[in-house]
Each structure stands twice: as structure tokens, then as C-alpha cells.
Symmetry: C2
Subunit: 106 residues, 2 copies
DNA sequence: TCAAAGTATCATGATAATATAATATGTCAA
DNA sequence: TTGACATATTATATTATCATGATACTTTGA
């Protein structure tokens, strides 16, 4: 075990930091933030439903989902013709919540 | 008042979402993440100290700080020749902490 | 006023991200 | 097997971001 530090134990090593930054880069897009929010509150959903709920174009939405899937932020489940997506990495919704807080909140 | 919802009350409006995304985009860079981490743990510091601690080039560091300042993530305080920077928006460190968590952490 | 330390800004070429439209793939039912 | 629905992939033009080096600004003490 690693001495269980309180928060961030120093900072992650460069390689890990780069991965964190990459994940944040994925979250740093309005459409993708909305996808995370929708999946969190509405639960898993097939692409066409996300398309309807979020008003995003099929191709673009599919790409966003694909990127997020590669990064492990969401996961995909085929059910017949549909592919249902859901949040796979809670950090995504945590970050979203953090960002929704008032700036001054500790 | 807006009924004080528990977490994210629906999602922020498009304009607000775009701002959130912009802030996240700023955090989504290894060097800037390290700046936030350094400022959090070490407190305020003048640029040349950050330069030494983080091993970042002067011009680049200055630009990072400037971008973060514009977004309100950090604040600058001139003290003589030096300019001391500190965290101005707790969301920056909160996001950093979120990201440092294990993926499975609720 | 000068010099030098400390920061900030600018210019630019390289790389990455984005939007969009078109096309391809997979699945099921008839 | 065909058609149609659901999703994925590709191509590409555009824009944004990054790293780097050069230059400008600001402050202080001599």
C-alpha cells in the first residue's frame, strides 16, 4: 500500500499527468459534457436517443462517443441494432459536478 | 432563487456550458495542471520560482499563467519586480483532485 | 538615466481538434 | 437476400493550440 496520502500525493508522474490532461481534454467540449450529463441523469441510452435528447448530428455524436470510449470514460453495449452507452468512469461526472459548483466553493 | 437543486440542476445553459468547457480546456494541459498543483501545495509564488520548480521556460510559463488569469483560475499580484501568482478559482484544484482519484471511486 | 532582473508579449511554424458531408458496416425482419 | 434502421468510419477543409525564439515592457537600485 502507498501510505494513503490525503489528497494528491505530490503530483502524478509526467506520463500519468499527460493521461489526466488527455481525459480532461475530452471533457473540455460542450457537446461531450452534455453527453456525460445526459448519461448520468438519464442513465444508459442508445445513440439515437442521445441524438434526439441532445440534438447532435449522428456522425459527430458517434465520434464523440468513440473518443470517450477509447479513453474509458463511457462504455458501449450492443443490444440488437442499438448500441447503449453509459458512463464508465465516475471521474467524468465528478469533474462535471466540480465545474458546476460556484467558483468560490471550497 | 433557483430552487437549490442537489447537484447539477439539469445542465447549464449552452453559453454556460461553453464557459465550463473553456475552463476545462485550460486545465487539460500537463504543464498547467502542474502549475495548479504547485500553487495549491506550495502557495503563491513569483514566476521565476515556478519556473525553477516546474522546469518550464519563461515565455511559455508566462503564457500559461496569462491564459489562466484571463479565465480567473489564478490571480496575479505584483510585489516589486516580481509577480506572485496564486489559485483564484478552487474549481481548478477540485478538478485536479477529482482526476487524481481512482477511476472506480464514487 | 542606465542596467539588469523579472515578466509579458509577439511571430511563426508545427501539430492537433473540429465540423461536416459522404460512405461503410452491422443487425434484423420480411 | 434485400431493405431499412442504427451506428461507425473516413475524408477534408477549417480552426485552435502548442512550442519556440525573439523582443518589449516594468521595476528597482546604482
Amino acid at each position: 500500500m502507498k501510505t494513503k496520502p490525503s489528497k494528491c500525493p505530490g503530483l502524478p508522474a509526467p506520463a500519468a499527468l499527460a493521461r489526466l490532461a488527455a481525459v480532461l481534454r475530452l471533457l473540455a467540449h460542450p457537446d461531450r459534457l452534455r453527453i456525460v450529463g445526459r448519461l448520468e441523469r438519464g442513465g444508459a441510452a442508445p445513440v439515437h436517443e442521445l441524438m434526439a435528447d441532445l440534438g447532435q448530428a449522428q456522425g459527430a455524436l458517434s465520434q464523440h462517443l468513440n473518443h470517450m470510449k477509447r479513453a474509458g470514460l463511457v462504455q458501449a453495449d450492443r443490444r440488437g441494432k442499438e448500441v447503449w452507452y453509459s458512463v464508465a468512469d465516475r471521474r467524468a461526472v465528478k469533474v462535471l459536478h466540480c465545474m458546476c459548483c460556484k467558483k468560490e466553493t471550497k
